[in-house]
Symmetry: C2
Subunit: 211 residues, 2 copies
DNA sequence: CGGTCGTTCCACCTTTCGGACGATGCGTCG
DNA sequence: CGACGCATCGTCCGAAAGGTGGAACGACCG
């Protein structure tokens, strides 16, 4: 019997995960929390589980204090409590995925995954195996395959100003170079990122967290 | 007994909604679909319900053809089938909310709403009353209070696509309008935000969290 | 030493954007 | 009703941005 803990700030999603888990004969939900803090508190209090289902994005857009994020929570759970963490989240950006994987997540699934895939991922995680959702794998592979994703320092500087909304002329004056140089850098950036325009490059930069 | 139909592309969320609804003594789930098209097909086939729980953002980021959006589906259901629609979604942007309300949605809830609020909203919707989640109300009020910088729903939609890096032509095709219209919206956006270019507008939009 | 790479610049050309008009229809509100 | 905001389209034109194909210089490295 696999003991599962749920940590998600959406009551509806928690109910859904609980329904899926309890619908499996070989696993059960032993605890449920709505915040990462509560999850850590429960574990520190001696709570034991075989797998933690964790949502990234905890009450993210809130105007309150900067809450504990999913990535940090993942790292703490994995290292302090030696419990495998299966990240289950809605719209994972590349930055989110990388952060979670680097923090030691045992798996990463999107919430639109079918229930069988979720159950399989839980069993794999309990066994200590790493599983990534099909979408996630495709994303990571796409990242690996991209050839020249390493931008030079100068190119990053230009990209940062582009993301801030500056025009080529403004960037040129700001960096004390000619407009031709800025355009040259931008051309290289677009080639490396596989983008077609400055705005698209800015979008990709944000998505990948390269600011 | 209130008959409820679920339309959400996330199996886990569907399970959660089902659990909440079936946990109430006075309501039940009579049908479940994963796409807006299936929902309309079921209704056209004679399916009857007292309330439709609808997710905006259907398979949104997909690379496939432009699927039917939640707002359009809302309009069709409300007007063709005279059935109240309760929109239940994750992270509602102002554009989403305005679009759904304008399309005739009977209610708008975020998925992080507690289950009791959800149940209450379903009962209100079945009775024909309009209910908005606390968060949603606050958003709308905040939008009202803002003096001169209020972007229309359509403008926000354009701005969102600009922020995603799309070109005017791509935006036009995505929204089924002409390039001239997109440029017109963009001109208004730049006027209202005090910006000079699309990239600058995107930067301001991100900064002010209006996505 | 020669090769690669980053940075800087140039010219030429095409596409795209943005500004500045106007015009229509469609709702709402006083 | 008329004024207003919104969304939708259009044209014209100049400015900005992007594509191509260079070239020069220095740094670093095997």
């Amino acid at each position: 019997m696999i003991d599962v803990v749920l940590a998600d700030d959406h009551p509806v999603v928690r109910a859904g995960l609980r329904a899926v888990v309890d619908g499996q004969p070989d696993m059960r939900v032993v605890h449920e929390t709505g915040t990462a803090e509560d999850l850590l508190a429960w574990l520190d209090d001696g709570g034991r589980a075989d797998v933690v289902l964790l949502d990234l994005r905890f009450g993210g857009a809130g105007r309150g204090r900067p809450r504990l994020g999913g990535a940090e929570a993942t790292g703490t759970v994995v290292h302090r409590h030696a419990t495998p963490v299966l990240v289950v989240t809605t719209y994972g950006t590349d930055a989110d995925i990388l952060a979670a994987v680097e923090a030691g997540a045992t798996g990463y699934l999107l919430k639109d995954a079918p229930t069988e895939e979720l159950a399989r991922a839980i069993r794999s995680a309990a066994a200590g195996e790493v599983t990534l959702g099909a979408d996630v794998q495709r994303r990571l592979l796409g990242r690996m395959r991209s050839p020249g994703e390493t931008l030079s320092a100068r190119e990053l500087e230009v990209l940062r100003l582009v993301t801030a909304g500056r025009s080529n002329d403004a960037i040129a004056r700001e960096l004390f170079v000619s407009v031709a140089t800025v355009k040259s850098h931008l051309a290289h950036i677009n080639t490396k990122l596989g983008t077609q325009s400055r705005t698209e490059a800015a979008a990709v930069a944000r998505e990948r967290g390269m600011l």
